[in-house]
């Protein structure tokens, strides 16, 4: 299956999903004007991927800010990834946040609780 690459903009995050390595990366800022239009291809790709995933899937999330509707779609992404996990494959979510960004760290903890996926919260230095 093809990889998915969406270039990041000021309003949308960069999406780099590689089917052959199982590394799914999403980073930047997510405040799209039309969240459905942006996230639908991402969810469709994940649906396909979940049918034949690689042994270990790593989801790397490094978001600076996202709006409410994006938070719903991020939840949907984790739900799709959860099906891979419940099917017996290795899954790890790496949740990156800037070291003084308490809000983003706690948001990662919330997603960890609600998704039931193994999370690793990783603090990174500010740019």
């Amino acid at each position: 299956m093809d990889n998915l690459f969406i270039e990041g903009t000021k309003q949308t995050p960069e999406v780099k999903f590689e089917a052959n390595t199982g590394i799914l990366e999403i980073k930047g800022r997510s405040i799209p004007e039309n969240t459905f239009e942006f996230f639908n291809p991402v969810l469709l790709w994940l649906e396909e991927y979940s049918k034949a995933p690689v042994e270990k899937t790593i989801v790397k999330v490094n978001l600076e800010y996202f709006n409410t509707s994006s938070s719903k779609y991020i939840l949907e992404i984790f739900k799709r990834v959860k099906t891979v996990f419940t099917d017996g494959h290795n899954v790890l979510v790496e949740w990156y946040y800037e070291e003084d960004d308490e809000e983003m760290m706690e948001t990662g903890e919330d997603y960890e609780d609600v998704s039931g996926l193994p999370f690793e919260l990783i603090s990174v230095e500010e740019d």
Partner: protein, 171 residues
């Protein structure tokens, strides 16, 4: 339209339940199953609402903090800008003051030469009083300071007009 909505899955469940209600008769098992599904979906929706609200509030807080930081930076920038303008004004005034002093000095020297070369001989030839020549020089000397102030004021006014014009052109 519902298909393109962020909650299209939840809307689909709701439509399905509405359709179920339209049925004329239900078996107990059918009712139980439908109710169970409705409860599960409702529970999931509540969980989603809880988490999304929590995250949204938290990120709003982050946005507020960023706004506060921006406001502070903006205030600091404004203060620096004011100080910078004050320094530029002081520098301009000093520069103009020096130029005005030079101009006035040049005028005074010219007047002194004119008085020594042309006016003094005329006075000496026509008026038999040394105080007249001295008085004339005294008047020139007394006018040095006001002359310098006037020149300074005029040049500053011109410089400010020029600055305003340049600022307007930049806008």
């Amino acid at each position: 339209m519902a298909k393109q909505s962020i909650y299209h899955r939840e809307s689909d469940f709701l439509e399905k339940s509405k359709e179920f209600l339209k049925k004329k008769s239900y078996s107990r098992e059918e009712l139980q199953l439908e109710y169970k599904q409705l409860l599960e979906n409702y529970e999931e929706l509540i969980d989603q609402v809880k988490i999304i609200t929590k995250i949204s509030d938290r990120l709003q807080n982050k946005l507020n903090k960023t706004n506060d930081k921006l406001e502070l930076t903006n205030d600091q920038l404004n203060d620096t800008n004011i100080k910078l303008n004050e320094t530029i004004d002081a520098l301009t005034e000093a520069k103009i003051g020096r130029r005005a002093g030079t101009i006035v000095m040049f005028v005074v020297i010219t007047l002194f030469i004119v008085s020594e070369v042309w006016i003094e001989p005329i006075i000496d030839a026509n008026i038999d009083n040394t105080w007249v020549g001295l008085g004339l020089k005294l008047v020139v000397a007394i006018l040095i300071k006001p002359g310098e102030d006037l020149t300074n004021k005029y040049m500053l006014k011109q410089a400010r007009k020029k600055q305003l014009k340049e600022a307007k052109q930049k806008e």
